[in-house]
Symmetry: C2
DNA sequence: CTGAAAGCGCTTACAG
DNA sequence: CTGAAAGCGCTTACAG
């Protein structure tokens, strides 16, 4: 447990002032003679000195960490998002502080607090609901740039990068309609998350446009498909209203849940009932039988764009907030 | 961009000393009269004051962040690991700094450096190879507790939580042998990662024990199954030595890769060749046809145990390093 | 091209 | 029960 060497140790060993060490370490902004620089670098090497990021942050008021707050880490779509975010941040020499809200508002609020007290430089945020509007506004007014990714909070003036989820919901539903489905149920994961709300809106639009009736009962919101009750809501529905001939699933976990539940009940997918999944294609999706049609979103592009926006803000860009809506893509495997 | 209020602002507003504010915020260690406490809390509320974690860290030399350095974020097994780690850390009021090495040694080394300079309190580490032994030893001697998770670096005295990977490799191979396979190939992802090395050793042991010959050519190491060349090594092998009747896959990505490659070639899995996957069961694995036998490891337990060890170390425990080997489990779905 | 010194926002001995 | 003050390891005006 040897004590870490400090900048003063380096200065002493190199026989220069503390300031000079700083200017060498930071490569500026003031010039240092070649000879002095060499002596300093020597001392750094010899002591194994590493700058103390915390002390630097306290002085500069800046930090090299970015927070990513998302609702779940278990959905492969988010895994791809995290992966790309980490990658892009590393390119810019930022570290990633990751937190999951588990779609839980209280937890989400606590995470925002922690991240603020940790002085993150910026935040990439997928809100599980719009309830934290004031807290986010506060964060922004404290000077922490926020970029919404995948979901947003309406009315908060921040850069936003998401898929056009209304369109995505419409595409998914229209595919089922084109396959001949008429009695289509929508299985969703939230009443409040903007992505869920938008996809359900897309579902409504498609149904309406094709003259198909939508009863509110046909929109099944199931917070936890892995829980004990799981997909029972689906069968409660079909016991009353008959088995639907199409099911549109509002996210990956629910797609898996629906397929498993149907299989367990002996319902033949693709034959008795058509299922469309969303909204991300993972490598293993292509192994599912019968082939599962999906609507995909480009999580890597979303991540890249979001980090790009954030970096611009960190660079001082204070132009009005921008919104980017990415196009969803229907994928039908044969 | 209003300036954040500081502890001094609170002190001034409450009409007390800075020290008193500290003692109220931290709830000790020195007693504060009820009346004073109330005045302070009032001022905190009124100003929306949040303690500045960075300043605190600089003073105390402690930090509330833990680093997690893993080789990939795209493998579902690691997603479950991350999820559980984040959960457990949150329970202990620690934030998670996440980084991926992409199985790349240089990158891994840079991440260790960054994490050291960020003063993480501790590190959970899945090394992609043993090459950074000295750097890790340095980290430990700097007082940062390290816990190996899922993989380790032999010879580094640090707590370790992994699956018994030799046993896992043996179980997987023995299952194929019991299914009647005799010509079994092992597809792995690395020559150096301890988990890969151990599983291959398990493969060798099982083959040897059953009197089956192992040629070095039968161990196919494919770093990037998603790359252009992908699984071509598998077919180069079978073009020369004939199609094996069993394939043992050393991780999830490779399991998917093998199944897809075989399908693309028109090889009937389960009929012409048996495949066993590993070493994690994801929800969607149960949807694969024909049912894929797997060896599973308990990533949540691994995560929990690793965080538990780390917290003990952070609490001052300096007993000798402990090693926990979790049992793998063969899962055969019907 | 270089040094001495103030100060970032906290915690914690020291003193009363 | 409370306050004044030193100091954590840096950066950066100020001065030469």
């Amino acid at each position: 447990m040897a004590k870490r060497p400090t900048r003063d140790d380096v200065a002493r060993l190199a026989g220069v002032s503390a300031a000079t060490v700083s200017y060498v370490i930071n490569d500026g902004p003031r010039p240092v003679s070649e000879e002095t620089r060499a002596r300093v670098l020597d001392a750094v090497e010899q002591l194994g000195y590493r700058p103390h990021a915390i002390a630097r942050s306290l002085k500069t008021g800046r930090t090299r960490t970015v927070g990513l707050l998302i609702p779940t880490l278990l959905s492969p779509g988010f895994a791809y998002l995290i992966n790309e975010v980490e990658d892009c941040l590393a390119d810019h020499d930022y570290a990633l502080v990751l937190a999951s809200s588990h779609e839980d508002g209280d937890r989400e609020s606590r995470v925002l607090d922690v991240m603020l007290s940790q002085s993150i430089a910026g935040l990439l945020y997928t809100p599980s609901f719009p309830g934290l509007r004031d807290q986010v506004l506060r964060l922004i007014s404290d000077g922490v740039p926020v970029v919404f990714v995948d979901r947003h909070i309406p009315g908060v003036p921040a850069d936003t990068v998401m898929t056009d989820n209304v369109k995505a919901g419409r595409q998914a539903t229209e595919h089922l309609i084109q396959q001949g489905c008429r009695h289509i149920v929508c299985v969703s994961f939230s009443h409040e998350a903007s992505a869920a709300v938008d996809r359900v809106e897309g579902y409504r639009q498609a149904m309406r446009q094709h003259g198909l009736p939508v009863d509110e009962k046909m929109i099944l919101v199931i917070p936890d498909p892995a829980g004990e009750t799981g997909m029972s809501a689906l069968f409660e529905y079909s016991d009353t209203c008959g088995l639907p001939d199409g099911i549109m699933c509002n996210n990956q976990t629910h797609t898996i849940g629906v397929l498993k539940a149907l299989r367990a009940r002996g319902v033949r997918v693709g034959d008795q009932v058509a299922v469309i999944g969303g909204f991300f294609v993972s490598p293993w999706d292509t192994l599912i039988e019968p082939p599962l049609p999906l609507v995909n979103q480009d999580m890597q592009c979303m991540a890249r764009k979001a980090v790009e926006f954030l970096m611009q803000r960190l660079g001082g860009d204070d132009s009005p907030p921008r919104v980017v809506l990415l196009d969803p893509e229907l994928i039908v495997m044969s």
